[in-house]
Amino acid sequence: MRSEHILKVDNLVVGYEEKTVIHDVSLEIPDGKISVIIGANACGKSTLLKAMTRIITPKSGVVTLDGEPIRPMNPKQLARICGLLPQDPVVPEGVTVSDLVARGRYPHQKFLQGQTKQDLEAVTEAMEIMDIIELANRSMNELSGGQRQRAWIATALAQQTDILFLDEPTTFLDINYQIEILDLMADLNQRKQTTIVMVLHDINLAARYADQLFAMKNGKLIAQGAPNDIVTEKLIMDVFGMKSRIISDTVSKSPYVIPIGRHFCDL
């Protein structure tokens, strides 16, 4: 059902016009695991994701999928393997949820083909996973932020890709929705071994859900590894410029970062 993929980034340099945002980053995304990219604002994490999904062309360096560079690949072929939930998706006015999710089947549909049985299956399954079946015939505009996000993720799920990229999927959501979505991602990873690559800005959530963390600072990859291995007070200071204390999260046993500021500091 699902194939193994090797997604590698080699010596990537990415920028806009004169500005360089990513300086010589190389990494490999572990197959079938949850990877999270963390870092301060404007460190390049979203840019890295966009380079990995071919939205931005790197100035130099290459992103390869199973040994082949992704740049020249056929768009639909790539889209069957890699899906993305963008940071600011555009909602066309008045679209229903099931119509939106159905659009995710585009890479699987032949030129003039209408909707097939597999398409309907994929759409239904995606909506079941994200628990939005009842919302199928509702218009996107009527939904809450959390519901809309789930609809967008369902759209990416309907693509039935082996690798799923999510760019800050939890921003602006209430904490319960954040956990809900991350739990759903964990489910997906367990059920279908989907490789998940997320950009998260909450270090604790990242540490909790990630199998592999990639820490970035000023466009460079400064650490990678399992949360328990690399989340240290030194790393937090390097990445966020903040003093902290690391304890073990009593619920998930992952590292938990406690910030030390001015008002509340080590006594």
Binding site: I55, L84, D88, V90, T96, D99, V123, T124, Q159
Partner: protein
């Protein structure tokens, strides 16, 4: 929580309902269009019975009727159908691509360029007919090429396209004002009539050319209609969902521009058709799916109906563009009021 099969059925049912509504709308619009065509052929200064019309169309030489029907009414009707469909379709594609309900092909100055070319031919060259057609197309093509070249110089951005388009639009409008100013008085009425959009005196050659353009561009747009639905979701989503964004966008934009340019050259700019057809199509099919074909059909109905009203309803004959304008403006205001009430802005 329903089980999987029930979920499948639920979703499929919802989809079917929407599809049925779409088909109904399509059928109704088609029916309306056919009725209007029939009216256009039979009603006029002289009323000809449907039987007479069919006889003439079949080739029989009915005295008196043949000239009116074949030379006056038939070209008019075909012009109405073709331009209505072209304007409606192209307008809907533009609005979807530029993601702005206020967008229409004129925003990048194509219609203004067509007008400038035509008015130049009418007022300065004192020409008529095919020369005006040619001048209009030439102006629109040159402008479109320049805009294309300019926007290729840097990364594509909708904002840049619109700004450049505004620049060209201002240039063209300026040219039109100038030509109006220095043109000879006797040609003024003709220029004004052209600029209001009229089905009168449309040349068969223009119609043939428009049909050729439609034969190429309409299928292209329809083939890429699915890509358009994905492009709608934003550049990032479209790229990762497998759309070759540059190619799809290029083909859709070029086809729409060609349709608009040729249609405008044929009848002059018919106000509001390209602007209104998209939003109205969306509303009557419900649930926000952009429907280029429905928009095209609505364009046909709008143009034919407006022309009939313009020709029959008043003491003076008004060209179709004035009527669509008078119909369109209140709709725009209604749209505004409705949006206000729903608190969309």
């Amino acid at each position: 929580m329903m089980n999987h099969l029930e979920n499948l059925a639920f979703i499929e049912e919802g989809q079917k309902k929407r599809k049925i509504r779409y088909r109904i709308v399509e059928a109704v619009l088609l029916l309306l269009a056919i009725i209007l065509c029939g009216l256009m052929m039979t009603v006029g200064n002289t009323y000809y019975s449907p039987r007479t019309v069919i006889q003439v169309l079949a080739g029989k030489d009915v005295q008196g009727a043949a000239f009116t029907i074949l030379t006056l009414r038939l070209p008019r009707m075909i012009a109405g159908i073709t331009t209505g469909f072209s304007f409606g379709l192209a307008g809907s594609v533009f609005q979807t691509m530029l993601r702005n309900p206020l967008a229409n092909p004129n925003i990048i100055g194509i219609t203004s360029a067509s007008s400038a070319g035509a008015v130049f031919c009418i007022l300065i060259l004192h020409a008529g007919g095919s020369i005006v057609f040619g001048g209009s197309i030439l102006a629109a093509t040159v402008t479109a090429i320049m805009i294309y070249l300019l926007s290729k110089l840097k990364k594509y951005s909708t904002g840049r396209l619109i700004l450049v388009g505004i620049g060209f639009q201002a240039l063209m409008n300026s040219a039109v004002s100038y030509f109006l100013l220095i043109g000879s008085e006797k040609d003024l009425a003709g220029a004004l009539r052209w600029m209001s959009g009229s089905l009168n005196g449309v040349q068969m050659t223009s119609i043939y050319l428009l049909l050729v353009a439609m034969l190429i561009c309409v299928p292209l747009i329809l083939f890429y209609a699915k890509s358009l639905k994905i492009l709608e979701l934003g550049e990032e989503s479209a790229t990762t969902m497998g759309v070759n964004t540059n190619k799809a966008r290029g083909i859709l934009l070029v086809s729409s521009v060609v349709l608009v340019a040729v249609a405008t050259a044929t009848t002059g700019p018919i106000a509001f058709v390209s602007f209104l057809s998209g939003p109205i199509a969306k509303r009557i099919t419900g649930h926000g799916n952009s429907s280029p074909v429905i928009a095209g059909l609505f364009g046909v109905v709008l143009v034919l109906a407006a022309d009939m009203i313009g020709q029959q309803a008043f003491a003076i004959r008004f060209p179709v563009g004035v009527i669509t304008g008078l119909l369109g403006a209140p709709y725009l205001i209604y749209l505004l009021i409705r949006m206000n009430r729903h608190g969309e802005f």
